[in-house]
């Protein structure tokens, strides 16, 4: 079949394409998108198919092909992590506020600062958001088309890569949470009943943040 392809599209045989994918992905520490793969492989190659072959080939090996959004990267098998103490990075200890904020962004994205505060019941400090932005785990999404046009936050590809997720849809327990209605943006029954302090604080901060 690869021969037929070659004659038709003048592309290298699939085995060769697999080697190219291996080489390109091995060489990069960052995930490489299919588009970039395709652009670097000779004309007529089918990057997606080659990646699928390579992924299969590395199943169960010491390194594996991971999908991160539309990109792919080789990563060591998690069960061998104990061998890598030397490579282990001293992970920055995240505050509880940061961890919770991150989870809320991941599960509720796109989410505004006010919504995060609504869920956590406490103001989100600027430092917390800055830390997550700095880690490249969250980024600004589109502005919400509501009064004040608040910015929203979404998680990044780096976040997916870090937690070994193919996409945000693969977040653990996402389906159950959604089924239980816990990801709904359920407003308070009556705006007047909201402890007003919280509400005002939220708006101010959103403004502050937009600066």
């Amino acid at each position: 079949m690869s021969e037929r392809e070659q004659s038709l599209f003048d592309a290298p045989p699939m085995g060769e394409q697999e080697r190219m994918v291996e080489a390109i992905l091995f060489a990069s520490a960052e995930p490489v998108t299919l588009a970039e793969l395709a652009s670097r492989m000779p004309h007529g190659c089918d990057a997606a198919e080659a990646v699928a072959h390579v992924q299969k080939r590395y199943e169960g090996r010491g390194v594996r092909l991971h999908q991160v959004g539309t990109a792919w990267a080789f990563r060591t098998a998690p069960d061998l992590g104990y061998l890598m103490q030397k490579e282990s990075l001293e992970a920055r200890k995240l505050s509880r506020a940061a961890i919770e904020t991150l989870a809320i962004v991941a599960y509720h994205q796109p989410v505004t600062r006010a919504e995060i505060e609504e869920i956590r019941g406490v103001a989100v400090s600027r430092g917390t958001v800055d830390q997550l932005l700095e880690l490249d785990w969250i980024r600004l999404g589109r502005r919400r088309m509501t009064p004040g046009r608040p910015v929203t936050f979404v998680v990044t590809e780096q976040f997916l890569d870090h937690f070994g997720l193919e996409s945000a849809r693969d977040l653990p327990g996402l389906k159950d949470l959604r089924a239980a209605g816990l990801l709904d943006n359920r407003p308070l029954p009556d705006p007047n009943a909201i402890p007003s302090e919280e509400d005002e604080g939220a708006t101010d901060q959103a403004d502050m943040f937009e600066e």
């Binding site: 490579e87 809320i104 956590r120 919280e198």
Partner: protein, 264 residues
Amino acid sequence: MAEDWDQAERLSVADRLAAEALIVDVDGFEGPLDLLLSMSRSQKVDLRRISVLQLAEQYLIFVNKAKDLRIELAADYLVMAAWLAYLKSRLLLPPDPTDEGPSAQEMAAHLAFQLERLAAMREAAARLMARDQLGRDFFARGLPEDVSHLRKVTYEGSLIDLMRAYARLRTRDEFRPFVMDRDHVFTMEQALERLRGMLGYVGEWSDLQGFLPEGWDGTPMQRRSALAAHFAAVLEMTKQGQLLLRQGETFAPLQIRAREGGRG
């Protein structure tokens, strides 16, 4: 704030110490909702079936105790206390049929939802952090090979370009080095020079038209250019006090006259 995740987990274990824990440190809780959540956990029931009334009671007791101990309570704790006291009263009293807002039950249900959602997000956060993580459990390529960016510039030139270039060189003598063809342009400088020379002859009011140079009425473009240049020159000379300028009405002919004593 700086409290880490494990400590939050330990809290539920330390239920029996809850009462003390509640009093000791308001800052140990991340806001009233957090405090309520940890209180509700001590009720050991499904969050959806939590007794908001009981919860409100506990919270108010906590706030009172804290006051006795002179612990400063943040405003949002007090706001929550006020709101819970209000909710409590609404829950205890028979519903007021004229009240238009949400029922006390609805408000209580929403609080329960908020608590459940917060608990769920805490759990989700814990599960997220328990995942294998890059740089801790699995690793990226340690020795990445840089992709070199080669920028290859090729220069193009065709035979026709070459021939054109040569032709241009060979015929350069025939080129006029003009940026703009000015055959039909009468400049203001020219007009000024002309008019200055004629100034002595303009003792009486005379139409400007009469001063236009000969040979400049061939094409409309020449005419316009000459008129515009002379008009501009006249304005300039009037400004300088050498001329007087008048116009009987709109679109009437412009008339000029030398200014007495203003000759210069």
